[in-house]
Symmetry: C2
Amino acid sequence: MSKLRKDEVVRIPLEECEIPKQWYNIIADMPNKPGPYYSPMTGKIAEPEEMMAIFPKELLMQEMTLDRWIDIPGEVRTMYRQWRPSPLYRARSLEKVLGTPARIYYKYEGTNATGSHKLNTSLAQAFYNRKEGIKRLATETGAGQWGSALSLACNHFGLECTVYMVRVSYQQKPYRRSFIQTFGAEIFPSPSTRTMAGKKILERDPGSTGSLGIAISEAVEDAATHDDTNYSLGSVLNHVCLHQTVIGQECKKQLEKIDEYPDVVIACCGGGSNFAGIAFPFLRDKFSGKNVRAVAVEPTACPTLTKGRFAYDYGDAVQMGPIAKMYTLGHDFVPAGIHAGGLRYHGDSPIVSQLYHDGLIEAVAYAQKPVFDAAVTFARAEGIIPAPESSHAVKGAVDEALKAKEAGDERVILFNLSGHGYFDMAAYDYYFSGDMVDYEYPEKILEESMKNLPDIK
Amino acid sequence: MSKLRKDEVVRIPLEECEIPKQWYNIIADMPNKPGPYYSPMTGKIAEPEEMMAIFPKELLMQEMTLDRWIDIPGEVRTMYRQWRPSPLYRARSLEKVLGTPARIYYKYEGTNATGSHKLNTSLAQAFYNRKEGIKRLATETGAGQWGSALSLACNHFGLECTVYMVRVSYQQKPYRRSFIQTFGAEIFPSPSTRTMAGKKILERDPGSTGSLGIAISEAVEDAATHDDTNYSLGSVLNHVCLHQTVIGQECKKQLEKIDEYPDVVIACCGGGSNFAGIAFPFLRDKFSGKNVRAVAVEPTACPTLTKGRFAYDYGDAVQMGPIAKMYTLGHDFVPAGIHAGGLRYHGDSPIVSQLYHDGLIEAVAYAQKPVFDAAVTFARAEGIIPAPESSHAVKGAVDEALKAKEAGDERVILFNLSGHGYFDMAAYDYYFSGDMVDYEYPEKILEESMKNLPDIK
């Protein structure tokens, strides 16, 4: 390896042999562990048998374990080699445009075929399901990144795949649909008439634009009512966050090579998995005294951490999936159809929620337009068009860099550019049209949506 | 660097310091040099002064030089570091699907922001133009890959950019338009009413779907009629082929690492630059006796090498640009609106043409449907959706692999996956709809279109 110099480097590479061999399970190190899941049937702590109707055993074990390190299976790691280690960039042009003394680094997870970090977990999930004899996976997708990632993974491991795509995104992103079909998966706009859950929602609201919570209900029902089918979730759950930790582990090695360590780690946060992926390996250092901040960025149109309640709630709209302790806006909350479809989830990862509740991480919410302002500034400077979701992290990093400028300090900022926006150009058209609308909910509406939480303390 | 084993490797990396420091100029080694350009005004060999109305001096020197190696400027090489060296993959899954004893490798040029090899030359062209005080570049684009690449490069080097996009592609690929606008360029469907050339075509054929030849006329006119503006071409010319040779040079280093050498190198061929990029460094070995084949793949809808004539012809529809000795279907030829917009050029690189004429390379033409069959097979096996243009190379490689299977030999196949298809999903929708039409022209029509060649021997 040629000697890398901090003052020169643009892209910080890693060798293939430096792809992590294990995932990092942050639960092992958390001062307060995330709460157990409750059963929507019994109202009691969920029995593993109940969860096994929709998840394979090995993923359930990963969900519950206190082991700090989990070995990455060889077949998954072989697939990781298609695009991992992913590049870490120093955002020199962006720094110049902002006139900041901060040093900004971004990890770019968009170089794989599906264009986002989601493939890190979809490959793992497809692998374990196939290993346990499952024939088909059912899932939801928001913006389509997760559906793309799971369809590719299922195709690779020889599984069938059924995707319920939030209707508003299905309409806004026809090319994601084509992508998913190219990999042989079937895809339906959600709410659909294929499930009881979908029908129930459509009866109540025939024009429903859908939500992640609804699409999850449909996929869970599909899995629960078919023996050969399991459910697969692209974020939120502990094992999904676990699989994403390859991101942060690689970042640490890459930054070490140029003798850097971040003052602040920033990622967008919908269900929490890409935030988890980049932040958890750094939080491990924080637990042992290191001074590092982690900031989760969410949209004002779905302000789960910043405006939600830390309480037990259903993970899905129709109350079929496990009940989790998390920040939530209420399982009935249907956020405005902002383009960052991947951030339209009413709840959040139980781990991320616990960390936020314990004051170990920060959260901030931005409206759509300033997020796209930052995205276009970033694109013109760095040459990559970010996904609308990832643009929230860009906005967070830009604000942090401007604060550093104001304070005149050399802050080191690391953020996760979790995916590219090449399937989201309609959102950029909308932005350039000048018609883009910002959403912010009055407290009253949010209070209303949080009224129906289940009675678990 | 960890030891790479041929029987295990998936992605063959290179270190950043192994990005080529020079471009390879094949003209230095060609037994017969490409013919000189002629002036459309005088009918005589073009004077450099005439060409300097639309090109910067340094690029003209690169166009004419017999020097074998040209240094890559530091600022261009710094930008190359954003995504170069690009990965070389062993297509293990594709090999398995085809059941071939052949070893298939592909160079993937789609990992940069604009998704194709075009950025290799756009950065160089923008750099030299800015260096010589030019304020704006005008260009044409077919599928939009070139327009994307030039808009990004212009934005980076502080130039304005005007793109004339072939109308049929402008309609088929709205997201390419958004991409180009995101980088601050202005873009017009061609033929447009902004130029005399465009108006002339529209008078003749108001419903014209456009062609690369027409769009080139518009861009050349725009450049020639504005002092501060130059013209920039994404393929065909010698200096463009030159800039692409970083591709093949990297491939050679990557294959050396696993002790491989290709029996055959395959690339799609529109104007010829991505073929040049991967093939020329290997042809250098062929000139000194090495046994290596190079195959250019074109669509039956625009069969320049396989059905055209080797003769002097205008590079553009309205006869404004230089006259070049090349394979041509006639400058009036307007190919069917196939989705591989980047391959819809009536002519071809003078260098590639001369090599083909001298029997040093091969060419083959495929219809659209079998090309998409191969593309979907490739996508499902390898996890990358290829651009329609690049899919021609995929089809070429698949056929070569099947021939190897028939012959029972271990042929080593290398092809250039010049770009991804994430902006081309409408073409895949069209393919899956079952309505896709194949085009093949009867000799008579081609004879007709080749009747108006200029009288230069």
